[in-house]
Amino acid sequence: MIEELPRWRRITDTVVRSVLPVVLALVVAGLIIAAMGSNPLDFFAGVWKYGVTGNNWQDSLRLMAPLMIIALGLIVAFRGQLWNLGYNGTFLLGSVVAAGAGPVLFPILPGWLVTAVIIVGALLIGAIWSIVPAVLKARFGTNEIITSLVMSFIAIGVVNLLIKGPLHDPNPRVTAPQTATIDRADLLPFFGGTRVHVGFLVAIALALVAQFVISRTSFGVRLDVFGASPKAAQHVGISRSWMIVLLFSLSGALIALAGTIDVLGNVTYMRANWNPGYGDAILPFVFLARLSPLGAIPLVAFYSVFANGGINAARSVGLSSDFLLVVVGLILVFMTITEYVGDKRRLGQSYLPAGMKQSVMSLFGPRTTATTRVPSSPEKATTPPEKVSTTKTTATRAPGKVTT
């Protein structure tokens, strides 16, 4: 049985577990920068300078729009314990709908209608593409990690073929494999004079809706029951197959929407082999947010600033911009460690594998002869039983002491 923690302890525990890995990753990243001969403080100051000050905050928020929507797409699937890793392909599929249909349709139809058609099209394609791994899992029990990943590779290939072939810019002077550019007037509306487009608002609104659905509606409870235990879900009368298909298509639709919004509000055209890999970068933050849409907002905002400012900051201290991925990797590592240590601490277990401490201690001989500890009450028993091993060494060394 696990002891129930008081509410404030649980909240601080959650916050610590979300923030600590980021802090540790930044500290270690700083050490790495120092080891490479640059000044880490310059780097972090650069992140702030290029990510927030002046007009730079606008670019950070513009980057945040697709990141936030992808995060929501991942949260929907992950909450149901469905590991949809096809985000890169789905994202590009959504992008290519906008980049392909936009230049063709905007000149001949009203702008709002084209935007609506593109968004609906992206949602549908994202959903349909994601249904394949879902049906395979629901029907045959295949591992969705593999199938969604494979579907992602296929999607990336298809998108590149489209850009090099039918969607190639018809302008004969453009030889590079890329689509035509969407006219600035046809892009999503921008907020008065800034570079922040309405997609940012959409992302935040979607996050709030998702938070409401998850915490207040019956669907949210069903989703959590399904995520906690598919067996319990079946017991309660929730169809497993339906849930898998629904969650996967929702997830795929959202991620494709992120792609569309990024093209319609930010990049305006697509080059072949363009793949920003947003999903890979945002993945750790989704877990740090404990799969909470609301909790994801500050973390995604943090990463948006870090990624936006980090590129120039890295350059300014003479690092490759790939250094950002190192930091993301470090966050993942420290998140895993924090979770492991946190769980062990909560369960009152030793942090070391069973028997390891004992073996190590036995090397140091008599120094370990501690007094035999006998927990006299259940309260005491919750402390980590680290002294187990020492008592055993006592026992083997001094048999006379122990008998009755």
Partner: protein
Amino acid sequence: MSSTAAAPGVISLREITKAFPGVVANDRISLDIVGGQVHCLLGENGAGKSTLISILAGMQQPDSGTILVDGVPTPINSPKAAVDLGIGVVHQHSTLVPAFTVLENLMLGETGVLRNETRAKARLGELSELLGARIDPDALAGDLGLGQQQQVEIAKAMWKGSRLLILDEPTSMLTPQAIEKLAASVAQIKAQGLAVVFITHKLREAYQMGDCVTILRGGKNVGHIGTEELASYSEAQAQRAILAAMFGDDVATTAEAAELAGATEAVREVDDLEIGAKRARLELTGVATRGHGHDVDVRNVSLSVHEGEILGIAGIDGHGQAALAQVVAGQRSAAEGTIRFDGEDVTRRGVRGRQQLGLRYVTDDRLHEGTVAGMSVAMNLVLKRIGQAPFWKIGQINRKAVDAEAERLIAEYAIKTPSSGTRAGTLSGGNIQKILLARELTDGARFVVVNKPTYGLDLKTVKLVRQILTDFAAGGGSVLLLSTDLDELVELSHRIAVISDGEIVGTVQNDGRGTAEKVGQLMTGAIEGVHA
């Protein structure tokens, strides 16, 4: 007891203490296990029996205390160390690989590069002679009856020349006939000078098979009856001594305690019921299920449960009980046949549809299927009514209504929980079972299928759960009771049907004595018959 500690042939536990978060599973337990004796370890669920044997088997390390083998302090810090000492454990549930032959199963622990089948066969020959049971080395383990599987398990435990054999609740899955065979084998092993630790919570068995008895309660050694003392007692005297230790002052009367501890032979306790005069509530006609991995499916099941009736389903675990319960509850679809509930065809209805009609299901997998451990007690109590008024209005949760319903059920079923907001996973098994019963039996329940309702519960909760079920039936409800505990079936059921390999092989009217034997015969005939 320290006088015998130095004697050879004795494994002594001294002041063994093992604590888990929130509970001291073993609290300074000392006992001696002597060769040539059957040492019975008695105690309720949660008394610390399992922890003690996993310490002996090297699977857990004690927080403090010593194990002395022949008077020499010996740490058992891995299962391998236990095997090297000659300590073999037969676990409650089969650990055989069904697709392997008996011989392959026995040789799983061999470390050599090449398999030495000749030597293995010779060893099996020795062991089958010792056990007094013929074991075919080339039969697939999955084809054997449970009694025979257990003999193979014993052979496996003794494979490396055992000095101590630990049997963990070996009788819980066996028919009365197979229990007799087991007793004969244990007597043979004992005669060879080996020590046997026999774990049970049934008093009768402890008296019949044991040479000495140690009683555990709340992790403490609360009583020991030595060899001479036990031999000098009559059965009734022994019972009284054991019961006093087992329950202390917890249970009001000795008769009640005796019944709970399985000291007496089980007799029916529900009131008579004129089944013919009652309407059929649930009727299954030719029902079959198909597919779902390794579960045994049911085939051609026809049965009816009447108003106010408790119909017991006896059978060895894993013979299609899960499929039967699920097909009745609507969790598994029927590939063939029809299911009628109060005359209405519900074959095509899902779980929620049947739930609303008053057809309920208390699953045996309380922790993973019946409850969501991470959710609050309140949410678990309304789990089957997600989205329904008054708990959800226009899709939005009404927490006040949920909490009010939760408080009502918590009070009615005396669920011990710090609050309705506590996570269900932190409660004890007994209280989790109460959550399930409260949830299923409220709001217009007319029929409930219960699978192993008292499995793994402490005796007071067992009694309470049985009372809830009999009260439900007395109030006109119908119960389909699936259980592997024959005593429980005999006490509660009006009729007992026997399920074997997914089929109902017979039904016994539960009137008067001898029901258990009749049911046992049906079970044996169906399972062991082919291989005997």
